[in-house]
């Protein structure tokens, strides 16, 4: 028996529905159909009053969740694809994100965003949007890379009083498996060292953690020991763990699947340079997707995002600086 990443998300929601009466799920096709990715399969059967299909109205879905949250509920909103959260952007950043600061009343909503690329999904079903939400105050942005984190961080997100944008990577849904969901976990807001090393640090999150580990394994054959830091949440950003790693290695590659302008990798490089310039033995590098919309054809798509090959290439550049 093994547990996939989407099994973990399903299990977290089931456990939350069973343990907390204030949790409910709201989203398109999530009821009897079980969701576009089956993250809510069978849940409406057990909780008909708390697993509800919504109209195709992302703005109203999040607005409704905010209203319910300030009335004592803990809604989990499923966006069918992260890309469509653009329609809910205003309610998330301007309504939910400002609410605690303005009124002192927290908004404990969790918005699940199936994000990231998979072959053939093209420009409107593949995007990484975490940097958009991370930019705004008042929002927690969670980006799990592992099966256990998908489970524990989703539960922690719902327990949190603040609005959470939960970025779950579609490529990991069924591809990523674990023997079981671990009992132990790190708290939300703490990064993890996924792979220890001493020659360079790759700071990344979500599906790119696995690509970075693959790249590191290839370089290991040549004697390079690459450390991989999995951020787990991009806001809060655990700079203590990042700086400690850079202190060990002296070299930094910030890696992300999002578009290259601004974003998480730029933030990482900027903070490491500002806060840990003295730790660096070489100029830090960034690697992101290309600055075009995400292409449809699998061959183009595979060359649009960072791959183990392009990560290895970038790491060689970093190690030779």
């Amino acid at each position: 028996m093994s547990v996939t990443y989407i099994d973990a998300i399903h299990q977290a929601q089931l456990d939350l529905l069973r343990s907390r009466e204030d949790v409910f799920l709201y989203g398109q096709d999530i009821g009897a159909f079980g969701g576009a990715f089956k993250a809510t399969k069978g849940l409406q059967e057990e909780f008909p009053e708390r697993v509800l299909d919504s109209p195709i109205s992302e703005d109203a879905m999040v607005g409704m969740a905010i209203g319910a949250a300030i009335s004592g509920m803990r809604p989990i909103v499923e966006m069918q694809f992260a890309d469509f959260s653009s329609i809910a952007f205003n309610q998330i950043v301007n309504h939910a994100g400002t609410h605690f600061y303005r009124t002192g009343v927290p908004v404990p909503i969790t918005v699940r965003l199936p994000c990231g690329g998979t072959p053939g999904f093209g420009p409107f079903h593949s995007q990484m949007v975490e940097a958009l939400y991370g930019h705004y105050p008042g929002i927690v942005v969670v980006t799990p890379a592992t099966v256990s984190d998908a489970y524990h961080l989703l539960k922690a997100s719902v327990e949190l009083d603040d609005p959470v944008v939960f970025c779950e990577h579609k490529f990991l849904y069924r591809w990523l498996k674990a023997a079981r969901i671990s009992e132990e976990t790190l708290p939300l807001g703490r990064a993890r060292i996924s792979r220890a090393g001493k020659h360079a640090t790759v700071v990344t999150y979500s599906a790119m953690v696995h690509e970075a580990v693959r790249a590191a394994n290839r370089l290991a054959g040549e004697g390079w020991e690459i450390e991989v830091v999995d951020l787990r949440t991009i806001k809060p950003l655990d700079m203590d763990t990042v700086l400690a790693s850079v202190a060990r290695t002296g070299r930094l590659l910030a890696l992300g699947e999002a578009f290259p302008w601004g974003g998480v990798t730029a933030e990482i490089v900027s903070r490491v340079v500002a806060e840990g310039f003295h730790l660096l033995d070489a100029a830090p590098l960034r690697l992101n997707a290309r600055d075009t919309p995400i292409p449809y054809h699998p061959d183009l798509w595979a060359a649009h995002r960072p791959t183990p090959e392009s990560i290895v290439e970038k790491l060689r550049e970093l190690l030779n600086l």
Binding site: S71, N94, G97
Partner: protein
């Protein structure tokens, strides 16, 4: 006593309201008196806020509801302060007062007192007390419709919805937003006990109705969603109370969301920075341009619900209370940037910096 007849037009929806030919008849004295008092208090406060703004005492914008008091206060008075939900918009001082908001909340927020509900972190008409069923609006129009829907959905899931009505207000301009349409549709799908007031005040800032929508009446928009709707004369206190009371009762009795469109004219600029010179004198002089406060006073006296002397005493009392609320807020400390905690998240979501 004579007053212009109601101009109510009624939709054909099965859930629609009935017309109110003799506006005001059937409205109890207590309700009408209470609503008029809220209108007087609101107008008095807003006149003062306008003066303070022009004297440079208020930073940012001042947005008034002159000409909309009858429509707005009628909603505030028809709701139950102890259990209903009221999400006002920028021209709802009268509704806020009618729903029980203290004057000091308004003056503290406008004048930037640290003791106000927003502590200087947000200003003017954005204030609210969400924990007391009064959400704090954001500037993005139409967004409150789904917020109120969610507050009602929460109560339904907690088996606590019985007898509760949620209400919100928008203007004609807000009905052009996606947020409004998504929210209204969601409320209709969920058959929520909601009342949505649309103040059709002829202009969205400076843009006339003709550049805002092509349907004849905004009632049409509600009908398209299966929502009961009626259009009433928003300058006529009796018609407002009758129409809105019926809508609130229909919503409370399980008939789903109800829209009430009030035909009226904003008797001020968009904000006090705007002189409203785009409003033609013809429109100002039309029936729609009459002052609902004058109409309301005439109606209340005409029905024998209050005397002129009594109304004068209400006005004097309002002036005194407004003066006190302004003076108190002006004496209070401003927010201190050095004591501000600068936290947008509660403890759990904070980033260590």
């Amino acid at each position: 006593m004579p007053y212009p007849p109601s101009m109510s037009s009624v939709s054909n929806s099965a859930q629609s309201l009935t017309s109110s030919p003799a506006s005001g008849s059937g409205i109890g004295a207590e309700l009408m008196r209470r609503t008029l008092r809220a209108m007087i208090t609101s107008r008095t406060l807003e006149n003062k806020l306008s003066s303070l703004y022009k004297a440079g005492k208020i930073v940012g914008g001042v947005y008034l509801g002159k000409g909309q008091e009858a429509f707005s206060a009628s909603l505030g008075c028809c709701l139950d302060q102890d259990r209903d939900i009221f999400a006002p918009l920028i021209r709802d001082q009268a509704g806020r007062t009618a729903f029980g908001e203290e004057l000091i909340d308004a003056t503290r927020t406008y004048l930037g007192s640290a003791l106000g509900p927003m502590k200087g972190r947000d200003g003017n008409i954005h204030r609210g007390r969400p924990a007391e069923r009064r959400p704090a609006m954001i500037s993005h129009l139409g967004t409150s419709v789904s917020i109120v829907a969610g507050m009602l959905m929460a109560r339904r899931m907690k088996n606590d919805l019985d007898g509760v009505v949620g209400a919100t207000c928008v203007g004609d301009g807000a009905t052009s937003t996606g947020s409004f349409h998504e929210g209204l549709n969601l409320a209709a799908v969920e058959k929520l006990p909601m009342v949505i007031l649309i103040a059709d005040n002829q202009f969205a800032y400076s843009t006339p109705r003709s550049r805002q929508f092509a349907c004849e009446s905004l009632v049409d928009r509600a009908l398209g969603y299966g929502v009961g709707a009626v259009e009433i004369d928003g300058t006529d206190l009796g018609a407002c109370l009758q129409g809105i009371q019926t809508a609130v009762e229909l919503a409370r009795s399980g008939r789903g969301p109800q829209v009430v469109v009030g035909k009226l004219l904003r008797l001020c600029g968009h904000g006090e920075h705007d002189d409203g010179n785009y409003v033609s004198s013809e429109l100002r002089k039309s029936a729609m341009g009459r002052d609902c406060l004058d109409v309301g006073i005439q109606q209340v006296i005409g029905f024998g619900y209050a005397t002129e002397t009594e109304i004068s005493s209400w006005q004097a009392e309002a002036a005194e209370r407004v003066q006190e609320a302004v003076a108190q807020a002006q004496r209070e400390p401003k927010p201190d940037p050095f004591k501000e905690d600068w936290r947008a998240c509660s403890e759990g979501g904070r980033e260590s910096q």
